[in-house]
């Protein structure tokens, strides 16, 4: 059992163990959608929202699986839960708040196969978090992802006009930028860490 306190866990999952920069999760959409701040912000918000909800739901489902001794099914169950939750959220948001749907809607289907969501569920299982820890970890990871993608989009906007060697344009320079961001974020790691 993890003996970190909740605030420590939250802080660690936002900064030192950032799900994107330390664990490389959610890279695909991170690179594809980080071209401008507005859509990066929208995607970040959607990921935070979905990640928080799905890890909590998956925690409950995992407890159920443990009771039935079916934990080897966890992968398949997690991904189906994620797909179902995303689908339901899409419908609910559409009904309740069309304005929010307009800003989040197009990103929601992308999120089903975002590695960060699945990764958070798996980390939750492996590290054996209890419910409050799961909530802190889910929220922290989502926020960490959000911060990272907005920061990257801002930097990419700046380096757009920089004279970059031709072969390095696009994904190449983006990866180098992410590398520097990873170094900056791991700078916090003397303070606190989750393994």
């Amino acid at each position: 059992m993890n003996d970190l306190n909740l605030f420590g866990l939250f802080f660690a999952s936002v900064f030192t163990s950032n799900i994107l920069l330390a664990n490389f999760l959610g890279m695909c959409s991170f690179i594809a959608i980080s071209k401008d701040i507005k859509s990066a912000n929208g995607l970040g918000m959607a990921v935070t929202f979905v990640l928080f909800i799905t890890t909590a739901v998956n925690w409950g489902i995992l407890e159920l699986l443990k009771m039935l001794d079916l934990t080897y099914l966890s992968f398949i169950v997690f991904i189906i839960v994620i797909a179902a939750v995303v689908q339901m959220l899409e419908m609910i948001i559409d009904r309740v708040s069309p304005a929010l749907y307009m800003s989040l809607g197009i990103y929601l289907p992308l999120i089903t196969v975002n590695c960060a969501i699945m990764g958070a569920a798996l980390f939750m299982q492996i590290r054996d978090y209890n419910l409050p820890q799961t909530l802190a970890f889910g929220l922290g990871s989502g926020l960490g992802w959000w911060i990272a993608i907005v920061a990257l989009a801002a930097i990419r906007g700046k380096i757009e006009k920089a004279p970059i060697p031709q072969g390095l344009q696009g994904p190449g320079i983006t990866l180098i930028t992410i590398g520097f961001m990873a170094m900056a974020f791991t700078g916090f790691s003397g303070m606190i860490a989750v393994q």
């Binding site: 594809a32 992968f75 196969v113 798996l122 031709q166 072969g167 390095l168 190449g172």
Partner: protein, 226 residues
């Protein structure tokens, strides 16, 4: 779009349309394990297995699955194979299974697997689909192994856990190699991958200089979908 001849397909997936440095797919789950060659090898073998077999499965049932249900079908098929890999690893390599931990499960959301199903297996017969999955996996394997060799050699002075560069020991003066701390951190994986992308693009663009921007939009759409 990938070629449907066996040799052309191999060339496509290993070089001209490599899943990692051209399509920028599937880097999510596995960069994290590239600081250790043994883990990387196991992980990439697992991915080759999953991609090949999920491709052949989806290709066999491609006419039975309604279009609307294909995403969920694909996901379930991938999860099925990943669970097999997970159980095999747990049984035969418990130590490595512990190191890889969540990353085995993350093969499910690896964009390459789903990308190949969507782009290839959905529209092609089983045998060539199997081959396509296999070669895509190899293209992925090649890049990751290069990164892993560099990271393990410079980060720990070892290859497959065997000492190649003896690490300098100030107490008895043995060895001469000082490990590069950065190679152990996540940041180095990004730098190395960027370097590989740069090198590959530079090599590819030698004859036709104007080719560079072409793959970018494709990577964006496929990456978004997968």
């Amino acid at each position: 779009m990938s070629s449907t001849s066996f040799l052309g397909n191999l060339k496509d997936n290993l070089w001209t349309n490599n899943p990692i440095f051209i399509q920028i797919l599937g880097i999510c789950s596995t960069l994290a394990v590239t600081n250790n060659l043994i883990n990387t090898s196991i992980m990439t073998v697992a991915l080759v297995f999953v991609t090949a077999f999920s491709n052949v499965t989806i290709s066999l049932i491609r006419e039975l699955v309604p279009r609307k249900l294909r995403m969920i079908t694909q996901t379930v098929i991938i999860s099925f194979y990943v669970i097999i890999v997970d159980i095999l690893l747990r049984a035969y390599f418990p130590e490595i299974h512990k190191n890889l931990a969540a990353y085995v499960g993350l093969i499910i959301t690896n964009c390459i697997v789903m990308g190949r199903m969507e782009a290839f297996a959905q529209a092609n017969p089983p045998l060539i689909s199997f081959w396509d999955g296999f070669t895509s996996g190899l293209g992925y394997m090649a890049v990751l192994l290069v990164i892993a060799v560099i990271r393990e050699l410079l980060g720990f002075g070892t290859l497959f856990g065997v000492t190649v560069f003896p690490i300098y020991n100030p107490v008895d003066g043995s060895g001469w190699f000082t490990p590069w701390g950065i190679m152990v951190t996540p940041a180095s994986a990004f730098f190395l991958l960027a370097g590989i992308i740069w090198a590959a693009k530079a090599l590819m663009n030698r004859p036709v200089a104007a080719k560079a921007p072409a793959p970018a939009p494709q990577a964006a759409t496929v990456g978004g979908k997968a």
